[in-house]
């Protein structure tokens, strides 16, 4: 009898833990304090660009406007540049507004790249705005933004 009780207790424990996990992700999505905000994204961008002005243009951020699964979202950034030794793209950064951290990737290029065009796959936790910033060799910064609608955020993959 005792043994049975023990089994029940542990089974109950496991069920409780599973329930807590299922609720945990949802709760974390709602109240997670570490989530990046538009303000923290601005801080992250300032850390990269310093006091320089960021201009619109030259950069093309390509990301699907409607995404079903936020765990893997194809994203590419192309920058208009001749990519010569005197005029080239030094760096490309991608930022998000609502992921737990604003940074996504920082890419460092040189004139040898030939074409300032990179592609990767990122995670998106929620419907939000993505910002790509390019740093040119003359010290100027250019950006492009894109809005993405996410049906299923990356966090939901927690519930196994």
């Amino acid at each position: 009898m005792d043994r049975h009780d023990g089994e029940w207790r542990s089974r109950r424990g496991i069920l409780k833990a599973a329930g807590a996990l299922a609720a945990g992700c949802g709760a974390a999505m709602l109240v997670r304090p570490a989530r990046a905000t538009p303000a923290s994204m601005q801080i992250a961008i300032r850390n990269v660009v310093g006091s320089a002005a960021v201009q619109q243009g030259k950069v093309t951020l390509d990301i699907p406007p409607l995404v079903e699964n936020g765990s893997t979202v194809a994203v590419s950034v192309a920058v208009e540049s001749p990519m010569t030794p005197t005029d080239y793209v030094k760096a490309i950064h991608i930022f998000t507004e609502k992921n737990p951290q604003p940074n996504v990737i920082s890419i460092h290029l040189g004139p040898r790249a030939g074409r300032a065009n990179v592609a990767t796959r990122m995670r998106l936790v929620d419907t939000q705005k993505i910002v790509a910033i390019a740093e040119l060799s003359n010290g100027s910064f250019w950006s492009d933004t894109a809005d993405v609608i996410i049906t299923l955020g990356a966090c939901l993959e927690d519930v196994i």
Binding site: N103, I105, R115, V118
Partner: protein, 106 residues
């Protein structure tokens, strides 16, 4: 050793801009998730990726947890000379992986 896939054209004309595609198997655990008993799962990601063409760095990227599992990165470079392109990924918990690809430039 993590499995890595590299796509580099075997042959290219001198001065041609070639596309390089890289993919490496890695879970990219964000550090923001929790286990079944509510404990935080520690971060385990690839933090850095470097491509070196005949000992000269041509591409470098810093990766953050927002990069999807099995990081896939595509970029371009100018085919300057025959040789090898080496790729190196480094990350948390001493993770390190290298891969090379040979290229013939005519």
């Amino acid at each position: 050793m993590a499995r890595a896939l590299i796509n580099v054209p075997a042959k290219a004309k001198r001065g041609e801009v070639i596309a390089i595609k890289t993919l490496i198997s890695h879970e990219m655990e964000t550090g923001f998730r929790h286990s079944t008993i509510g404990l935080p799962i520690p971060r385990n990601i690839i933090t850095s990726f470097v491509a070196i063409y005949n000992k000269e760095e041509i591409f470098r990227a810093e990766l953050f947890p927002a990069i999807a599992a099995n990081p896939f990165i595509t970029f371009y470079t100018v085919a300057t000379e025959s040789g090898t392109i080496a790729f190196e990924w480094t990350g948390d918990n001493g993770f390190s992986a290298t891969e090379t690809a040979a290229i013939t430039v005519e």
